[in-house]
């Protein structure tokens, strides 16, 4: 579904991603684990064309996207929950959700999509006219996920959605990611919380200092010495 072949990305003179290759299986949950500063967010930004790779190819459903611009890439069916959530602070919950459907803007099933988000996150329905800036971190996280779902993405990218959330909420969010995946969306989950992530992911990759340091099924990753040592403290 999504494939990176030898992708390198630089910020100025510094190489942030070094020849990264990975492939996401359609209909699955893939995860990307790695410590702070490993380049996880950079990888997401590279997929989205916010930074351009200096070498390598990125393919989505078999077609090259690394030369496209961000709005063209997401229009192919990619939903994003960016690092830090980035909800639109001065828009209401409803307006934020509408932005999630920006590509189509007025699809026939707009109301149905919104109702689906509201049934997943009843909290958002209660706050539909509230400005995003005035909501709690947890509510903003839900809003960011709901917003990404409004575009009916084939692939959902989640960059540390659990960051800063209370354990109950993290639990909820992961359950939600599973539910979203079961309804047919491929999920790419970037996380530092390896234990929880490996419980729901089917397969994954380990990123260290901008390089892929390991990959495999969730079970293989959980058993690998690096992950056990660095993330699971087992």
């Amino acid at each position: 579904m999504l494939e990176l072949r030898g992708v390198s990305t630089r910020y100025g003179p510094i190489t942030m991603l070094r020849s990264v290759s990975l492939s996401l299986a359609e209909g699955r949950i893939a995860c990307l684990l790695g410590p702070n500063g490993a380049g996880k967010t950079t990888l997401i930004r590279t997929i989205l064309g916010i930074v351009k790779p200096v070498e390598g190819e990125i393919l989505f459903e078999g077609r090259r996207i690394d030369r496209l611009r961000t709005h063209e890439i997401v229009a192919l069916g990619i939903g994003v929950v960016p690092e830090g959530r980035r909800v639109f602070p001065r828009m209401t919950v409803e307006e934020n959700l509408r932005m999630g459907a920006f590509v189509e803007w007025a699809p026939a099933d707009l109301a149905a999509r919104r109702d689906r988000v509201f049934s997943l996150f009843p909290r958002l329905a209660e706050r539909r006219r509230q400005k995003a800036a005035t909501m709690s971190g947890g509510e903003q996280a839900m809003l960011a996920v709901g917003r990404a779902l409004m575009g009916r993405p084939k692939l959902l990218l989640l960059d540390e959605p659990s960051l800063g959330l209370a354990p109950v909420l993290v639990e909820q969010l992961f359950t939600m990611a599973q539910a979203i995946n079961r309804s047919g969306t491929t999920v790419f989950l970037v996380e530092q919380n390896a234990r929880k992530t490996l419980e729901i992911a089917h397969h994954g990759f380990l990123l260290q200092k901008g390089e892929i340091a390991g990959s495999g099924s969730a079970a293989e990753l959980a058993a690998s010495p690096i992950v056990r040592h660095a993330y699971l403290r087992a």
Binding site: H71, R86, E95, G151
Partner: protein, 307 residues
């Protein structure tokens, strides 16, 4: 203390001037919203709009079309198109490419561009150095309410200005392009992740803001019965002040700021001896005091109404 009627009269005049200032201010505030830049040639775009409107009216008159109901709307459309395109060009050439460099560069580039626009009108418009009479196309005459004279012409200017503001408000709040503008103003990167085409949105914003300046330009011609190639300097400074009073980035603030500035000007003319000579001095002094007290403007950052 001047009689109440005189004050009311001046306040009314102030509201009318204020509508024009507000139309200029909205442009400043929109540009600041999407690119965080101050576009200093915007005042000269306002002047260009007035000249484009005048040229259209003269052209139409030359082919025998003088009926205001037909000529005026055409003049508005033509002037909006001209300023809209020049505004987009200005943004592409000297605003956006510099948006990431020092704000001083944008300041320099847009000030120079303003100079180029001004000099071009001076040189290329026939006898460009002279003030140009602007045709009186609005209904003359009027009526009186409680000692306050109300002219049909002024009502028309007010009506056109308000209609322009309502249109912009609807565009921003109800259309897809408006949603893109708001999203880019709040978080350009997140906006792109939602599928917003950043370049096109910035273009649209500059078209919209510059088009509004053209409306203000024509209204100014209709109000003062003449236009002049240097009118953009004062127009720009006042429009920018109005936007600053309202809190840069805030569309409703810019409108309030414009109205406030207009009313300040005219009432200070009535309240202060020889005030009409000093009206700009008084108005700007109040603006400066105001900005010292409330640097973020009336509605300021806390306001959720910022685009």
């Amino acid at each position: 203390m001047p009689p109440l009627e005189l004050l009311l009269q001046q306040a009314l005049n102030g509201v009318m001037l204020g509508v024009m200032y507000a139309l200029i201010a909205v442009g400043f505030t929109l540009f600041f919203g999407v690119l965080d830049v101050i576009h200093f040639s915007h005042g000269d775009i306002f002047m260009l709009g007035a000249f484009a409107g005048l040229s259209t009216l003269l052209g139409l008159a030359a082919v025998g079309l003088r009926a205001p109901v037909a000529a005026l709307p055409l003049a508005f459309v033509a002037a909006i198109l001209v300023t809209g395109l020049v505004g987009v060009l200005a943004e592409r050439v000297c605003v956006k490419p510099l948006a990431r460099s020092s704000p001083l560069m944008t300041l320099l580039a847009t000030l120079s561009l303003g100079l180029v626009i001004r000099e071009s009108v001076l040189i290329f418009y026939p006898r460009g150095a002279d003030p140009k009479p602007f045709p009186q196309l609005l209904p003359q005459g009027g009526f009186e309410v409680g000692g306050v004279a109300i002219r049909y012409e002024n009502l028309a200017i007010l009506g056109i200005g308000l209609a322009a503001m309502v249109t912009v408000d609807l565009i921003i709040r109800r259309t897809r392009m408006g949603a893109a503008i708001r999203a880019v103003a709040q978080d350009p990167e997140a906006a792109q992740m939602m599928g917003v085409n950043l370049d096109r949105t910035v273009d649209a914003t500059f078209f919209l803001g510059s088009g509004l300046a053209a409306v203000a330009g024509i209204l100014s011609g209709l109000y003062y019965s003449e236009i002049h190639f240097i009118m953009g300097i004062t127009g720009g400074v006042i429009g920018f002040s109005a936007a600053a009073i309202g809190g840069l980035g805030n569309v409703y603030g810019a409108i309030v700021g414009g109205l406030l500035f207009g009313v300040l000007q005219t009432t200070s003319a009535a309240l202060i001896p020889r005030g009409s000579e000093f009206r700009d001095v008084v108005a700007f002094a109040v603006v400066m005091l105001f900005l010292i007290v409330r640097p973020r403007g009336i509605l300021g950052e806390q306001s959720v109404e910022r685009v």
